[in-house]
Amino acid sequence: MTATEGKNEIIAIEPGELSVKAMEMKSKGLRLSQACAAWLRKEEKLELSYSFVDDETYDMFNVRISLDNDKRDTEIASISDIFPYAAFYENEMRELFGANIKVINLDLHNKLYRIEEETPFVPKKEGQN
């Protein structure tokens, strides 16, 4: 068979550009494959990654928002009105990593995983209760 590994790129964007980027990906016929957050312990940074894929070419474009510790509360508009199933990923990122994602179309109010312990699991900022 002819293997088609496809592209695998990371595209850095500003928080306010997410909706436009998601629209652009949708207009190209791409599918949202996953979205996840990561807390970088050394750099003290929160990263959000939205992965869009092409089912024919197997290309993968990972749209990345990086937030320094002092800006990690920056509001991010949900893309669940563009990709409805993004709601599950965005609820997860908000519950486990404290990403400040607004207006998720299926808002589970930080109870996607019904965790008894207090969430999110990222370290608290100075002066935060």
Partner: protein, 359 residues
């Protein structure tokens, strides 16, 4: 308009293999809306990266799921190997492919049994699982485990498949192929079985794409995508094409999975035929420093792995997006408009794995 009522379905229900809760809004016997919720078995496996080093995490990722355990271990190792630029020996790539397809074989037979059980055909359920036992016997022979294989490591594999074991695998494949032909006749031709599956839970190609569906669930709606076509492990050396159906209903999903049983048998035979000599693993030095997104085809569909290393033994992030997570939205869509009596079949039709999903 009929009387509306809300019926809670699950998390504990005789037909549900794993705990998911659905609030079903019914008008008489028809479902008009669905609100899913999960979160009953979240184990925080990804967070364990803070306490376990990247080599130990192989065994943690294998425990994400009891059915597609090998695939999770493989997906994790392959992602770390990309970050560390490790060239895995060819023999290890072929051995991984053989075990991966054995895993798919037993997973699809398990699903076929669960599906038969869901539409009330208990004898067919027993027959599917009887055949599956032979696959598990071979997995035990080659790895020592029936559920968790534990043969993957970063850099390659821990065990070899000897010529005697290869002979046992080939004999098992002949047996499974012969028995699957018998099972296939019942699944595909039996009038009663067809009446429970044909035209039930139809998802069009456009809907499947719009809802981000993955794996056999998407392929049954005509989306010809299969991550094995990316050529990871030894798949680039083997002949295969994605198996699709254009029916988009439960019957189509069954057709795709049965087709994939034969496909796995063929792939294992090809891999054994082309199995090269050589080392089982490459030498691994240092710690992962960098990031990589990886996609593989698990039995239930596309699984995504993301790893970010910081140069220490403990990763910054290990993320697994499982196929069921991607198929939840599709499940809700096929339930809308369905009869209440078909909920069990439709829930099983996506081959749900909630423990995978919640990690």
């Amino acid at each position: 308009m009929g009387k509306r009522s809300v019926i809670p379905y699950g998390p504990q229900h005789p037909v549900l293999p794993e705990p998911i809760h659905l609030d079903l809004v019914l008008e008489d016997e028809k479902i008009v809306d669905v609100l899913p919720s999960i979160g009953f078995i979240h184990r925080g496996l990804e967070k364990l990266t803070e306490k376990r080093d990247f080599n130990q995490m192989v065994y943690v990722t294998e425990r994400v799921c009891g059915i597609c355990s090998f695939g999770h271990g493989y997906g994790y190792c392959d992602t770390v190997e990309h970050i560390m630029n490790i060239e895995v020996p060819d023999r290890a790539k072929f051995l991984r492919t053989i075990w991966f397809e054995l895993s798919r074989l037993h997973s699809h037979l398990l699903w076929a049994g669960l599906m038969a059980d869901a539409f009330g055909f208990e004898n067919l359920f027993y027959q599917c699982w009887r055949v599956r036992e032979k696959v598990l016997d071979v997995i035990e022979l080659t790895t020592g485990g029936r559920v968790i294989f534990s043969v993957n490591k970063v850099g390659g594999v821990l065990k070899d498949i000897t010529p005697e074991m290869q002979k046992a695998i080939l004999e098992m494949l002949d047996y499974v192929e012969k028995e699957t032909k018998v099972l296939e006749k019942t699944f595909m031709n039996d009038y009663t079985v067809q009446s429970r599956m044909k035209g039930v839970g139809v998802l069009t190609k456009e809907q499947a794409h719009a809802l981000g569906c993955a794996g056999p669930f998407a392929r049954a709606s005509g989306i010809a995508t299969d991550m094995r076509m990316r050529g990871y492990a030894a798949y680039g050396e083997l002949d295969m094409e994605p198996i699709i159906s254009n029916d988009g209903d439960c019957y189509g999903r069954c057709e795709v999975r049965i087709g994939e049983i034969y496909q796995s048998i063929d792939l294992i035979r090809q891999a054994i035929d082309k199995l090269p000599d050589g080392e089982l693993a490459a030498v691994v030095k240092g710690n992962p420093n960098g990031e990589y997104f990886m996609r593989i085809e698990q039995p239930r569909g596309e699984a995504d792995y993301y790893i970010k290393g910081n140069g220490t033994p403990n990763l910054d992030r290990m993320r697994v997006r499982t196929p069921t997570f991607a198929n939840l939205a599709g499940l809700c869509e096929v339930l809308k408009g369905a009869d209440y009596a078909d909920v069990g079949i439709l829930a099983v039709t996506i081959d749900p794995c909630i423990s995978c999903t919640e990690r």
